[in-house]
Amino acid sequence: MRYLRLLWTFFRVGVMGELAYRANFFAQLFESLLELGTAIAGLAVVFSYTSTLGGWTPDQVLALVGVFFLVGGAIRLMIQPSLEQLIESVRDGTLDFTLVKPEDAQLLSSIQRVEIWKLTDVGLGIGVLAFALVRLGARVGAPQAAGFAAALIAGGVIVYSFWMILATSAFWLVRVENILMVFQSMYEAGRWPVSIYPGWLRFALTFIVPVAFAVTLPAQALAGRLTWQVLAGSWVFAAALFTAARLFWRAGLRRYGGASA
């Protein structure tokens, strides 16, 4: 549909711009491999002392790490750079240019920048995920795969809406970039299955910073530990949060344009 075509154009232009800088690709590859190596080394140390972590087997946690990199890469590919630019544009007034275009401003603001080399994170994540799936073997069938896809989509919508809400607060607050950094730190906690955390932390990592939806839930689906009730719940939450983000955005635009409340 139209939106997808627009998305593709922005993506294509972003890619073309960066293709010339191959050094950046290698730098990103180096960084991503180091991060992945760290995560796997950590797993190795932990699993040298136990055979399960809160009920998760090593291969299941490996799949989790794969999802972590995949989702993290997807966020840092387009959502994060675009919304960071949105926050700046609210401050320096270049948002005006976006608002004067005949296309939905929220859409334009969400796709305006692409950090193309973050695709290595996505690629590595898929690689690790595939490797873990092979080891999990027969235990992953069609229903698990479908659950995984569904959970991933819901998780993606939730994370995007969450970021959108944070970025929209720039219409009211001045220094929002710092809040984005807090998300980064909390996202790191998603490298481990959220179910091992004590209740209050689990709550924070589910509803305050929705890491659980983005990473743990899809991994749970693959491990066959996701009930359809929870999956349905995540879809409901996704729809609600997306609507909330949209309404909040409209309120932000009204404030920006000086409309009386």
């Binding site: 627009l6 232009v13 711009g17 005006d96 240019f97 005949p102 296309e103 344009g257 000086g258 009386s260």
Partner: protein, 327 residues
Amino acid sequence: MDDAAAIRVRDLRKTYVVSEREAGAAAALRSLVRRRTSEIAAVDGISFSLSPGEVVGFLGPNGAGKTTTLKMLSGLLHPSAGDLSVLGHAPYRREKAFLRQITLVMGQRNQLVWDIPAADSFELNRAIYRIPRLEFRRTLEELTSLLELGPLLGKPVRNLSLGERMKCEIAAALLHRPRVVFLDEPTIGLDVTMQRRIRAFLTEYNLRFGATVLLTSHYMADVEALCRRVLVIHHGRLLFDGELAALVQRFTAHKTIVVRLQDCTADLSAYGEVVSCEEGLATLRVAKDLTARVTERLLADLPVVDLTVEDPPIEEVIERVFAQGTA
């Protein structure tokens, strides 16, 4: 009112609520309890209308309300009161059909993406405005030749000079052949040659494509070069709406006489107000009705090498208009 008007504004107002606070800790505490607010009228009831194809200049000092008016016309700001219609639409509704026919250029602010060549930014606009390929290529060719963009399009925007960037900005804004073009201080920060080039382009563009152009500036030269009609704004009010020549006529009580003499030894104060005298070039300010007489006397009394009678610089005229407006 004129039904064929491209832009119609009636009694437009924009007020901001500002909280006042004096400096100091005591005042800060007080403001927690009781917020004292005041209203500032950025635009205080202006009315005008533009016919299609007109090129009009909005003139005024900083803070006069010109940018605010422009933002209301382009749908970026909601008016506090008044009627506003551009191409038959209410701008603040930001309907897609409306946005497709207008464009905005802001001096010193870029819509072009920084790291990629301008041509790629043009691609993005093509997709956003849904411009058919053939039409896009034709428009781009025309703009490239009019603005001499050839070698610039392939370079990343961050490698272009300020003037080159502005040319690309303007091109990007015109790719979809808008019927109304809003320009907010487009030549600010540019060197004189580039300013002239852009003015020439805008004139040419208006002639070729018949777009209505509304331009704000505090550079008199912009307005002089481009606009026959001028709207002067100060403190949110319209002080003058009409032809530039008429503006000069109405608000000048003086003329300037520039005399070239051998040197500056002679005392010229008897002839009029001596503005300056440097190496024999004297500038005098003389009341309009006395101009002819003073000229006669100067020519008779002094060894004049050259003499010209000029209208005062328009800056002076404008200052006068503002001064009268505040009175």
